[in-house]
């Protein structure tokens, strides 16, 4: 079976939430909707402070082809239009007070839509690639002239650890996904459709196959893929499914393929069939610190803080302080005691010991890192005021035990990084070149081709931060034009 690609790693999958049914997360009292939730230009704000908006009201409209419309996730009043930090930049956010009435204003439903209607609707409903990249789907479905697309690949690999949102939607919305895929296929005019799913999601493969058989669909095939990270990376996925090699620095359309994520297909279905624009998505909320781990429909613009407030932590951060205060109290008590009061000293010591033990268990269940996306390629932040966007497939609150906090040591030249690199690069040489500032050398060993999958850093015994060298090299090569 054509399911292999070069390299890759086997991180512990940690798909803790794969049996949890998707439920709706109670929307927060206030949402902060950023005008950038996609690759490309920020959308242009179309509402004013004080306006009343409904669920699905257009808040900001796409600025050109590589941009996307933004819709209101709740109904209520626009309170402010302000700049807030998002990642390492400042982005305009539209702040809306939720009146919890969920008045909706959707687009008209389309029955039997034509190719043009589907394309127009994907653009209108603000649909972007929901696997993480956020490339506007309408632009993807309009291949450049002279290029013929003969294969549509649907990415249901979900190779990142922890994330189960795609897995769950394949189990719970198979009909809708297949209809969405049909719309995409109609828009592209292709009749060879491959859905790639990793073999650790056999139940999803079976579910999709059942629906395909029940509806006598002949041109959609579900292909089981080897469970191996980064199976879901575009070029690796295309190679595994079709044996076609996308040339370096080219898009999949070069080899006649378009790739879309399963969640994107689901959103296309909602946009076309129900007229529902993209204002919410399924997010896996997980990580050692979360009590109610699960898969939730979350409105875009919900802050991480609000998500955690709903899902609860196993032990709150305040508890640490409470216990610390108790320890301090006991310590001062101990100091005050006279040496002769042996039995009292013994009792206080024992209490102290049990408190310290409690502190360490409470501490070990605290999160030390927030990750938007998977632990291999997601973005981590210190700011829990950041919000869920169209591309947030997961939100992880990781504990110290889960996160790699070891500082890097000297490269032992083991060659493991080169062996796992799915792009067949030489990470250790690029790392050395980046440290030496020799960008030409970094380029020679393939820095420009790096997909930043993180397999090399993951495997490295010296725990070297290879990905940051890759990022730096890519940037320097691009800006200096080497």
């Amino acid at each position: 079976m054509p399911t292999k690609f070069f390299g890759g790693v086997h991180p512990h999958t940690n798909k803790i939430t794969q049996r949890d049914y998707i439920s709706e997360l109670t929307p927060p009292a206030k949402v902060f909707v950023p005008v950038v939730q996609h690759i490309g230009k920020p959308a242009i704000v179309k509402v004013n402070v004080g306006d009343y908006v409904k669920v699905g009201t257009l808040l900001a409209s796409a600025d050109g082809v590589i941009s996307a419309n933004i819709f209101s996730p709740v109904s209520g009043k626009v309170m402010a239009i302000e700049n807030r930090p998002m990642g390492d930049r400042e982005v305009t956010h539209i702040v809306i007070d939720n009146d919890f009435s969920d008045n909706a204003e959707f687009l008209p439903k389309l029955t039997n839509p034509t190719k043009e209607q589907i394309l127009a609707r994907t653009a209108e409903a603000g649909i972007v690639g929901m696997g993480g990249a956020g490339f506007p789907t309408a632009a993807k479905l309009t291949p450049p002239s002279g290029v013929t697309i003969d294969t549509l690949v649907i990415n249901g690999a979900e190779c990142e650890p922890y994330i189960t949102s795609d897995h769950r939607i394949m189990l719970e919305y198979p009909e809708q996904i297949l209809k969405g895929i049909r719309y995409i296929a109609t828009a592209l005019d292709v009749h060879n459709i491959l859905i790639g799913v990793e073999e650790n999601k056999q139940d999803a493969i079976d579910t999709l196959n059942k629906v395909i058989a029940a509806n006598n669909i002949t041109d959609i095939k579900v292909v089981g893929l080897k469970t191996r990270y980064p199976q879901g990376a575009e070029k690796q996925l295309i190679y595994a499914l079709t044996k076609r090699v996308v040339p370096a620095c080219e898009l999949p359309s070069k080899v006649g393929v378009v790739v879309n994520n399963v969640h994107t297909a689901l959103s296309v279905y909602y946009a076309v069939y129900e007229g529902q624009p993209l204002y919410r998505r399924v997010v896996t909320v997980s990580g050692g610190a979360v009590k109610n781990k699960g898969n939730y429909w979350i409105r875009t613009g919900t802050t991480y803080k609000d998500v955690l407030a709903e899902c609860k932590t196993i032990d709150s951060r305040e508890n640490v302080k409470v216990i610390q205060d108790k320890i301090k109290e006991k310590q001062s008590q101990l100091e005050k005691l006279d040496k002769s009061q042996k039995s009292e000293i013994k009792a206080v010591r024992a209490e102290l010991k049990s408190l310290e033990k409690e502190l360490s268990t409470v501490k070990s269940s605290q999160y030390i890192m927030i990750v938007n996306g998977g632990p291999m390629m997601g973005a981590c932040t210190q700011n829990d005021e950041n919000v869920i966007t169209k591309t947030s497939s997961a939100l992880l609150f990781l504990t110290e035990k889960e996160v790699n906090t070891v500082s890097p040591s000297q490269c032992i030249n083991c060659g493991k990084c080169a062996r796992v690199c799915p792009m067949r690069l030489m990470p250790m040489f690029i790392d050395a070149a980046a440290i030496a500032g020799d960008w030409a050398e970094a380029k020679k060993y393939g820095a420009v081709d790096c997909i930043l999958c993180g397999s090399c850093s993951y495997i490295c015994p010296a725990k070297r931060d290879l990905v940051s060298s890759m990022k730096k090299s890519k940037k320097m090569i691009a800006t200096r034009g080497i």
Binding site: R317, V371, M376, D384, I412, G415, R424, D465, V467
Partner: protein, 347 residues
């Protein structure tokens, strides 16, 4: 609220760690150490202890002096704590003749008169071969191997082959190695002793093929080494030995096969192939590079043995190929996925 932790992705990491890998190598060497004790007596343990201690102390002092910091932090951060110096220490000890700690003329009776030699060798390995080039990962040659050659050159008289002095009462085998005679009938009569290690050797760790194979399997299962590389070396030696030694010198087919078996089972080939040629920093980084490296070793081993008339074939062969590794790594690296060789780096 305490500040949250941020770093570049990925945020999770594999079970591999430098120290754990080194620990795995040490564990894999335990069967060899046991075989050494069985066939050459308790003195071998003293050799190992001396080499390890010297290795640790010299690496430790080197890092402290180099960084010129003398506090607890510096002690904790010293690269000596990553256990790689113990690997070098044990490997060097395994590459020495047990007679270094024997009273002269009295095999098996321990005397410490010659103990300065392993110490000098270890300091050479750690300070000149490993640390002077930047420490772990940067040394161009395998420190233990380079030190062995250094000792053969410096104290040649003490580095010769010795017969076994096993502590389990097996019949001792003649002390001259098989390689000096390359006699087919010896293989057919002595194959069992060759396999378990009841034979004379210039390096007490190389004696037991079985012990080394146990280590090989362990390292392969733990994914510390690429299991294919030792196989290519050993297979390569078999083929080249057939071509250059068995074909010209063997009279019958079975004799030819015995000659090939002799080449494979003796002279530290196994130890070199499993533990020396797989040393991370002195071997190529890619599998294709490693194939060239391994075949080069195999060819050199046979050439040196047949035409050079020396027992040190394996050591020299690996050392020569070590020196060629930067060259191999410079030219043998894979073409990035989706790139054609001609256009590589063009865009």
């Amino acid at each position: 609220m305490e500040k949250l932790f941020v770093r570049t992705s990925p945020y999770i990491s594999s079970r591999f760690a430098t120290r754990k890998i080194m620990l795995d190598v040490i564990i894999a060497l335990i069967p060899c150490i046991i075989a050494g004790v069985i066939f050459f007596g308790w003195g071998t343990l003293i050799l190992i202890g001396v080499c390890c201690l010297t290795a640790f102390v010299s690496e430790f002092l080197f890092t402290l002096i180099k960084n010129n910091k003398w506090n607890w932090e510096a002690v904790k951060n010293s690269s000596a704590t990553d256990l790689s110096c113990f690997v070098t220490g044990i490997l060097l000890a395994l590459n020495l003749p047990a007679s270094l700690v024997w009273k002269s003329g009295q095999p098996g009776v321990i005397s410490l008169a010659n103990i300065w030699m392993p110490m000098v060798g270890t300091v050479f390995a750690i300070v000149f071969v490993k640390m002077a080039f930047g420490g772990i990962g940067k040394n161009f040659a395998n420190p233990a191997l380079a030190a062995r050659i250094f000792m053969v050159v410096s104290f040649g008289a003490f580095m010769g082959t010795v017969g076994t002095n096993n502590i389990i009462g097996l019949d001792a085998v003649s002390s001259a190695t098989w390689l000096s005679t390359r006699n087919a009938s010896a293989v057919s009569s002595q194959w069992f002793n060759m396999l378990i290690g009841n034979k004379g050797a210039a390096a007490f760790g190389e004696t037991s093929v079985i012990a080394i194979l146990i280590g090989y399997i362990y390292l392969s299962v733990r994914k510390v080494i690429d299991p294919r590389v030792p196989l290519i070396i050993i297979g390569g030696v078999a083929v080249f030995a057939f071509l250059f030694d068995a074909l010209p010198n063997g009279s019958s087919f079975s004799e030819m096969m015995l000659l090939v078996a002799g080449h494979v089972l003796t002279g530290g080939l196994m130890l070199g192939a499993v533990f020396m040629a797989t040393d991370y920093s002195s071997s190529p980084n890619t599998f294709r590079g490693n194939v060239i490296f391994a075949l080069g070793i195999a060819l050199l081993v046979v050439i040196i043995r047949v035409f050079g008339k020396t027992d040190e074939g394996v050591s020299y062969a690996i050392l020569i190929m070590n020196i060629l590794v930067p060259l191999i790594d410079k030219y043998i690296y894979p073409r990035a996925f989706g790139r054609k060789r001609a256009t590589r780096g063009a865009k």
